[in-house]
Symmetry: C3
Subunit: 153 residues, 3 copies
């Protein structure tokens, strides 16, 4: 089934990619690999939430933040690759969760983003992953995720 049909069924309309936060590009392709820049839970140019897990942000909110990060990654792939159906595999996620020193459920938080990749791409969306805690992220966002994709020739 088309990736766009699946997105429609999930009720997701891809937004434009978020504005850049620095001197980089959101999308870099080398051969059949695409690297995206780290994405935060940005909607309409602003974070939908700020704060840390273990403090202001609940696990459920963190999962929603991770889901928004993945929507932004999808919007980048859609814009720059031109057709999400050319994604052959979601290869790898590196995910960071802004956390108090006591919060240690980072994988549960990032599942909120990983699930969307599975929902959209099926088994090809299943990826290797690290979910890491950190004391602070840019702009005080709770979650940041970067991705590597395999794409068609």
């Amino acid at each position: 089934m088309s990736v766009y049909k699946r997105l429609q069924e999930l009720g997701i309309a891809l937004p434009p990619p978020p504005p850049l936060g620095g001197l980089y590009t959101p999308y870099k392709r080398v051969g059949n690999l695409v690297y995206t820049a780290g994405q935060g839970p940005i909607v309409d140019g602003s974070p939908v939430m700020i704060g840390k897990l273990g403090a202001e942000i609940t696990v459920e909110q963190g999962q929603e933040a991770a889901r928004v990060c993945v929507i932004n990654i999808l919007s980048i792939m859609d814009k720059y690759l031109g057709d999400l159906n050319k994604v052959t595999n979601v290869v790898k996620l590196l995910a960071f969760v802004a956390s108090t020193p006591q919060f240690s459920d980072q994988p549960q938080v990032i599942n909120g983003g990983s699930k969307l990749f599975l929902d959209v791409f099926g088994e090809n969306g299943r990826h290797a992953r690290s979910a890491i805690g950190t004391n602070v992220l840019p702009g005080n966002i709770p979650v940041e995720i970067e991705a590597i994709f395999e794409v068609e020739d």
Copy 2:
């Protein structure tokens, strides 16, 4: 010499890969590259130690934790690649050490894992690496390591 012979000489019997901690796969191959998910010092399904460097965990304990992470990475490669002798290079490690804000010997800790790759694969096991501090890791483990390998066709 066979990688399995080397493991035997080192007294290492590869365990089954650790249980998954989320919606991901421990092993993803794209072309001749394999990405593993981040691995912790898990034995028989549970962390062999929890806590942070600079607090409950000594450098020597952290090195042992890093070694267990690498054993788990090897167990994943053995199971999914089918034959560790098909590994042509250990390419890159990204390693995180849960640390107090004052602890700054992360590289010494991760050497405990890097050394095992060298012992097992010889010079092909020598890898690029970053060893990074963080305030907390999933399940309060002290060390997490992910790896990229080059493998035979």
Copy 3:
């Protein structure tokens, strides 16, 4: 224009690569990709500054630290690749900024390094990137950056 001519115009004389801080290699090539080990702001074998953003280190100092990290990455590529003109793309940076829990301008800090890649390689130097906060880095350095390059056959 030759990369070396650009470096000269920028007033940069590449130093030898920094001494290794552990059991790894600074440069690992697989196919047309090169992975570098994480580099700190090391000059003549020692950190040019230590401390954290939000505490002892200003944003301007952090940008200078990021620039020195990138100079060290360039020195590694020069030594091991043999000719910086064989770099076809700067693909991806993963950058860590040692930060107090309140400091959240990591991207602005890392721009100090990203800008140098753009100055040296032009548009081919534009890269995907994540700029992540952390509570502590090896040796108490303020910034650490690792890079992936695409290089000629």
